[in-house]
Structure formats: C-alpha cells, structure tokens
Amino acid sequence: MPLQINGRQHVVVLEPRVSLLDALREHLDLTGSKKGCDQGTCGSCTVWIDGRRVLACLTLAVAASGHEIVTIEGLADGDQLHPMQRAFIEYDAFQCGYCTSGQIMSAIKVIEEGNAGTDEDIGEFMSGNICRCAAYPNIRAAIRHVRDEAGGRS
C-alpha cells in the first residue's frame, strides 16, 4: 500500500492489522514515533494526518493510506530544527526523551489550534501526552516561548 510520509511516497506490503505506528517503526525504520502503551493512553506515538494530531497506535496503516502523514522526522529542515524542537532543548523540556516526539507533535498543534493562550489551556490540551520524567513545567515554558515568538499567531 502507498503511504505518504513527510512528503515522500513509500510503498509497503502490510497485513491489514498493522497499525500505523508499527508500520512506521517496524517496516519503514521511522522509529522517531514512539510506542509507549499501544493503547491510546500515553500520546508518545502522536503524528499528524492531514494536519491533525492523531495517535498512530490506534490508527491502522491501511486507514492512513492516501492521507498525508507527518512524523517527528519530518519537522526539521535539514540541520535547521523546527522552533519547537529548539525550544524543547533550550527549556530542557525532556529527560529520557521517549515521549518527546509525541510532545513536540502535539505542542505545535496546540498552538495552531489556538489552545495555548494560558498555562491552564496548555496544561489541559497537552494532557494527552504523558511525560513520566515529569518535565511538564518545562514543556509549558517551551510552548509559551514558541507561542510568543510566533507573534501571537495563536
């Protein structure tokens, strides 16, 4: 089946029961999207499909075929990191790094969705992404920084 990922067309042969997450990780060697629970509870597999954040573990690969998929590997422009990636480093918004891909994929969308106006909003709309290291205050700081740099675009 064809899968459009990070602007590139991939063709893979997959059983219909393969999740988008396993297709990325086990078949396409795109391991930036993480498997934390495989049950839709932790958010570490968050990717974008047609511009919306979705959980790749609860999405069948076949259902994502024909749609535009963006993963963490598609954010940076060569060595030029996305502002949210830079902010996560600067504000130390992660420790072990395992939830980080999902956090960043959600964080960018939270601003775009207009849900990053206050810390309470950020906390609420980022609560689908668990960080067991509990870097939450730093994640909020990184999001505030990108929001404010974007010039109140949200």
Binding site: K34, T71, L81, Y98, S127, C131, Y136
Partner: protein
C-alpha cells in the same frame, strides 16, 4: 573556564527532538524476529497442560517454547542489588523451569514469529490449563503469616535497627504521636517498555537492552546462560526512563537471549504495557506505623518505626524504610523493624526514592502532628531536632538541612502562614500549606569505577565508561566533567557510554550514578592530563621544558606554567612533535569504605500549597518548592529538571499512584495508563527548586551527592501536611484518592 557547574543544554538534545535517538527496540537487524510472552493467568498453582498446536500452525510462527522446549538455566539466580556491581537478578527465581506458577503474569510460554502481529496473535492462541491453588496477594490476606525479616536487599542490610530503649523513651515522653498508614503498590511505568534485542554470533551474545545497568545485565545473563562474561556484550544507546524498574535484571532479558539461540535469528521483545505490571517488579503494598515521643520543648526522645509489606515466595525483599528515620534527627532511642508476608507476587523492587521516600512520609507527617500538639512551628521543630552527627557520632560528610529549611521557608513565604487548620478559603476551595524535611542515604556498595580518556592529534578527545543515558543527563554531565579534567574546550570533548565493552561503571541506581560516573571520568581526564604534562616538561622542544609538572595548568588545550611566564604549549603541538597520533589513560575511582567515619545523607526541604474541594475530594497542588543540598551541582539546568521531576513524582505518590490486587484472582486491578494514574500536564504545578551549597570532600573528587531521589523524598509528606492544614483532616492512606479526601461532614450540603 570551567564547564562543570554551567547550565549546558543536553548534548543528546538534537537526537531526542528529531526522533533520531535509537532506543533498544529500535535497533534493526537483518532477519529480525519477534517474541511474545504468554503470562500465567493464575497467581498460584501448576500448569497442567499447554495446547500450542494452533499457535504453532499460525502464519509466520517460528517456534512456541514451553518449559519442555526451553533449556534449563545454568545457575540459580540470587537477588543482589545492581549497585553491588555483580550479577543482579531482580528475583531469586527463573520462570519456565518447571510447571509451578508463583505469580500472575509469570512467563509460561514464548512465541517467536516473523512479524510482531503474528507473534502476538499466535500467543493469543496458546491454551494453558492450570490447577490453581489459593493465593495470597494482599496484606489483608496474609497478615497472620507476617514474620520479622532478618536481612533486606538480598542479605545486604539488616532489617532491624535499634539503639537505646525505645519503650522507655516513649513512656517518659511529655507528648506522643502514634500514627499508621496504608500505602498502595506503585509501578514505575517508564514510557518506554522494557525492551530487548538479542542476537548471537556463534557463541557470542549481543543484547540491545533498556537497562539502568549494562554491566549488571551482562553479568546476570552470562551467569544464567553459563557463558563467560566476555562473550556477552550489552549495548544501550538510550533508555526511555527507568525509575528503578530497569535497575535489576528481570527474566525477560535472558528469555529473549534463549529464544534467539533457539531460532538462530535476532529476536526482539518489547513488553506490552499490561505486561509491565508483572515483569519488572513494583513498589510493594505496605503499612507503616510510627510512634514518636518528645519533650515539651520539642526534642525527640524516642522513635519506633515499623513497616509491614508483601514480598514474593522466594525473596525477603522490602525497600528499607527506616534508614532516614533512624538518623535524620537527634534521638537516643530508636527501633526500626521490617515485617514481611510471603505472597504470590514477583519480587518487588526499587522504585524511585526507594523505601525511604515512604519512610520519610511517615516520619514527616508524624512530625507535623507533633508540631501541632506542641504548638511549635513545623519548620522550627525540625530545626530544633537537627543533629550534626549520625547515630554513631560521625559528622555528616556534608550537611545543609537547616539551611534548606530556612531558605525554603523564605522562598515559599512560610512566615505568613496562619497555622490553624481549615482557616483559608479561595471560593469553594480550602487552601493549606505544608512542609517536610527530605533526606536520602548515600550508599557506597559499588566496586571501583573506571573510565578511559583519549586525546587525538587534532586536539579532540573522548572519555568512555559503561554507563547508560536514561534521562539523567549523564552524557552531558560527563562531557563537562571530562572537558574540565583534561583541560579542553567542551566542543572538543565527546563522552561515550552505552556499551559493556567500555571500562567498568556500575548500575546507575540509588542516586549513585552522577557520583560514580563523574568520579571515574574525572580520574581518567586527570590521568591523561598529567601524562601529557609530564611529556611536555620532559620534551626539550616544549616551551615548558623543565618546568615543575605541578606548576602546569591546562585550559582549552593550552598548557601554561607560572614558572615560564608567556610560554605556551598546546596538546596538538605536543602530540605532533612527539609523533603521537593519540594518547590515552585509564582512571579509577575507589569509593570510600563502608565503615567510613561519616554520616551519609543528602538533605533537602519541601514546601507545598494545596487547594482542596471538600465535597468532591479533589486535591490540587498549586505550588511545590524544594530546597536541596546535593553537594556540587554539576549542571544546574539538568539538576533542576531531575529534582523537579522527583518532586512531581512525590506529588503523584501522594495523590495519584496506587495499584491494588484483586484477591479473588491474585492479579493487579490496574494494568494500563488509563487506570493506573500518573500525572499529566494539567496535574503539574509550577515547581521551584533552590540549591544550598555544601562542600563534600568525601563522596568523590567533585563532591556530587546525586539528585535522582532526593527531589521525591518529602514531597508527598509536605502535600499531606498541606491537606491537613487545608481541611483539618489526616488521610491515612496513599494515594489520597478523592473518595478518601471527600469530607463526609460537608456532604449533602
């Protein structure tokens, strides 16, 4: 300029934010196969039949292994904490050696298939029949069988500690506080599941493993498989969180190696989230009681601290809970006791802030009650009971408790507090504040730690040791330490870890990682620097020829000496002149002896503000402030993060986390992240971390005492004390779930 002590951002940051960092299940090898583990559905009994024909016939299945097919292990595992530096099985038990079931979830069959989905589907087809026997999985079920433990931690520590006459001390006290708590079990739940990739090359085994101790993994697997240690290599690039759940070596690692040998191909195992609740230990369900006696002026006269908990059928395991209560305050009469019940669970294990975090919870909530009984400010009560020496009369290697309490109180605004409970409201919310002292022991059980430093002809350098990065920031910290020790710029220094072939570093547990790694790296960098200085002063062509080695300073790769004003040599020129393509040195750090005449605790103080909705029983933490004295802070940015994370773990321990056994089936009631609550972003308040500077010359050349646990210790007690201050009620169970906090007196209003 010194790199140590500066807030350098993580050297692995770019890899982690781009998804390039590879964790253990993300290694791809040609011919990879997938392992699914079938766990027992009963907690006690025997396997009477395994019907695996359907699974064997399923598409893509390479093998189904039952105890009949699985080879026997070469040696019985004996639990010993990984900090000791030897083999470190998490339990003195290995599954699938016979038909006995000791705990629910215990592996009883393995399925290996070409694809992940095929393995898990086939695993669902394996039919297992059991002859169950009655299980004990809760304290309530086993209370009558409780016994006093003799030794803890696989025999490493005595389970009883006693001095003076505690009963006389209590009887003679002006005031007494006696309290008891029930504490639910905790599960580590790192976001990365324990993962193993095993691959054999002839008789050599390579494991890609999510572990906090690659050397412990290497030695444990070698022992269980009867292999020379040299034939087992463990590689760990990144670990997605550990929190103690990856501190010991659990059976699934060796089972994966056995499966790979059986099918003759690489095998990958990634435990499922539900399996994580029965595969890598947990913090045991427990009850703690404490009795404190004090004189009218607040001075403690006696402490009796008892813990009762459930262990496995095969190990006397309890996280030690009385190590801090026995020494945090000056008190002549002390008794600490651990009682155990053998139950049908796997052996419990270290969970962040092991043992002492709940021990301190009990002590510090009791101290709060004592403060109310005596009408002494809780900060003042703790300051009054501070002791400059441990119970043996040895001075602390470094102190800071009083300074942490004072600084924390000032930053928190403690002096503005009205101590009377249930007096502050914010709309419908009752608001309260609380304080607790924090302390965590420093343990020197580890063998000597080594690192290798190497410099190349172009002036770039590398330091190596066999530690692993699981979020502590060790890659960054060790780069800073290595750069300073050798005397090169940070940009010239690489730090390499994550491979058991590198010089010895013991498992990073018990907040010992920073001390061990920084000491070994410092020793290696310093040894190489001294070697190069010796070369320079004996090199006739060096501008520093003949200078005293002790006079030579190195910074940014430039060597200078006060004896030769204006003269400069560089590492690059020195190596080039001497026709050296590189130079290297080994460094070793030997920990202080166990009987060092020093008290060994890391100190801190925790302050919390909570708001409680008494009708719904909701507790919202509004502020958490911590002040800590962890010795030298190697990187304040990373230390802040780790302490903050620990404090939020303490919040979670107070309010959210707890699992319970369903005694009908002997299985955990909560086995996913929807039911087992951990904090989400909206739960986490802003956190303030302050440091109190203390010099510590004992704990290592850099004086770092570690920040992994101390942030968590005391945080739950400060929150519980704040809940009392808000509501006037003491909640006697952890977590303080809404149904417990809900106030019957205001119901039906």
């Amino acid at each position: 300029m010194s790199a140590v002590g500066t807030p350098v951002t993580r050297v692995d940051g770019p890899a982690k934010v781009t998804g390039a960092a590879r964790y253990s299940a993300e290694i791809s090898l040609p011919g990879m196969t997938y392992l699914a583990v079938v766990g027992a559905t009963v907690a006690s009994g025997r396997v009477t039949a395994i019907e695996a024909d359907a699974a064997r016939a399923a598409e893509g299945v390479l093998a189904v292994l039952t105890p009949e097919e699985l080879p026997k292990i070469a040696a019985e595992p004996h639990l010993l904490p990984s900090l000791v530096g030897g083999p470190a099985p998490g339990e003195s038990f290995f599954p699938m050696q016979d038909d006995v079931v000791q705990y629910a979830g215990q592996p009883v069959a393995l399925v290996i298939a070409e694809e992940y989905e095929q393995a898990h589907h086939a695993a669902s087809l394996v039919r297992i029949s059991y002859q169950p026997t009655k299980s004990i999985t809760t304290i309530e079920e086993g209370r009558e069988q409780a016994y006093e433990a003799q030794r803890l931690f696989g025999g490493l520590m005595p389970a009883r500690s006693e001095r003076g006459d505690v009963e006389a001390g209590l009887a003679g006290a002006d005031v007494r506080v006696e309290v008891a708590y029930k504490m639910a079990a905790n599960h580590h739940n790192p976001i990365e599941a324990p993962s193993t990739v095993a691959t054999w090359d002839g008789g050599n085994l390579t494991l890609y493993e999510s572990t906090q101790g690659i050397r412990a993994t290497q030695q444990t697997v070698a022992q269980l498989l009867g292999l020379p240690i040299a034939r087992v290599r463990v590689i760990t690039r990144f670990v997605g969180g550990g929190f103690g759940g990856k501190a010991m070596v659990w059976p699934n690692v060796t089972l994966t190696a056995m499966a790979a040998r059986y099918v003759g191909r690489p095998v990958k195992l990634m435990l499922t989230r539900p399996q994580m609740f029965t595969s890598n230990g947990h913090r045991e369900e427990q009850e703690q009681r404490i009795a404190i006696g004090a004189a009218r002026d607040g001075r403690l006269t006696a402490i009796r601290h008892e813990k009762l908990s459930i262990t496995s059928p095969f190990d006397d395991w309890a996280e030690p809970a009385t190590g801090v209560s026995s020494q945090l305050y000056g008190c002549e009469n002390f008794l600490g006791v651990h009682r155990l019940i053998k139950g049908n669970t796997m052996t419990p294990t270290f969970t962040r802030g092991p043992g002492e975090s709940l021990g301190v919870f009990t002590l510090e909530t009791a101290m709060d009650e004592l403060a109310y009984q005596l009408a002494i400010d809780p900060v003042e009560l703790r300051v009054r009971n501070h002791t400059p020496v441990d119970p043996f009369g040895n001075p602390w290697s470094s102190d800071g408790l009083v300074e942490c309490l004072r600084l924390g109180a000032e930053r928190f605004g403690w002096s503005e507090r009205n101590p009377a409970p249930r007096t502050t409201r914010d709309g419908e919310w009752l608001v309260g504040t609380g304080v607790a002292a924090a302390a965590y022991p420093i343990a020197f059980f580890m063998p000597p730690q080594r690192a290798r430093a190497r410099i190349f002809a172009d002036g770039s350098a590398i330091v190596q040791t066999s530690t692993q990065e699981f979020g502590t920031g060790v890659l960054t910290m060790a780069t800073q330490v290595g750069a300073d020790a050798l005397g090169v710029a940070l940009r010239e220094m690489e730090f390499q870890a994550g491979d058991s072939d590198l010089p010895n570093s013991t498992a990073a547990v018990g907040s010992a990682g920073a001390g061990m790694v920084s000491s070994a790296v410092h020793a290696a960098g310093t040894a190489l620097r001294e070697q190069l200085i010796a070369l320079a002063v004996s090199d006739e062509q060096s501008p520093l020829h003949g200078a005293g080695p002790g006079s030579v300073k190195v910074a940014d790769g430039h060597l200078t000496s006060a004896e030769r004003p204006g003269a400069v040599d560089t590492y690059r020129e020195l190596l080039s002149r001497n026709h050296l393509s590189d130079a290297e040195a080994l460094g070793m750090w030997r920990p202080p002896p166990l009987d060092t005449p020093h008290g060994l605790l890391t100190f801190g103080a925790q302050f919390a503000e909570v708001a409680v909705d008494p009708e719904l029983g909701l507790v919202r933490v509004r502020r958490l402030n911590g002040a800590f004295a962890p010795g030298r802070v190697l990187n304040p940015l990373l230390a802040h993060s780790q302490l903050m994370g620990g404090m939020l773990w303490g919040m979670s321990q107070a309010l959210l986390e707890g699992n319970h056994m369903d005694p009908r089936y002997g299985r955990w009631a909560e086995t996913n992240l929807a039911e087992y609550l951990v904090p989400v972003n909206a739960d986490a308040p802003e956190v303030r971390v302050d440091f109190v500077d203390v010099d510590d010359e004992l704990v290592g050349p850099l004086g770092a005492k570690g920040v992994g646990e101390i942030g968590q210790v005391g945080a739950a007690a400060a929150i519980a004390n704040a809940v009392f201050h808000a509501t006037g009620r003491r909640i006697r169970s952890l977590p303080m779930a809404p149904e417990l906090v809900m106030d019957p007196a205001v119901g039906g209003r």
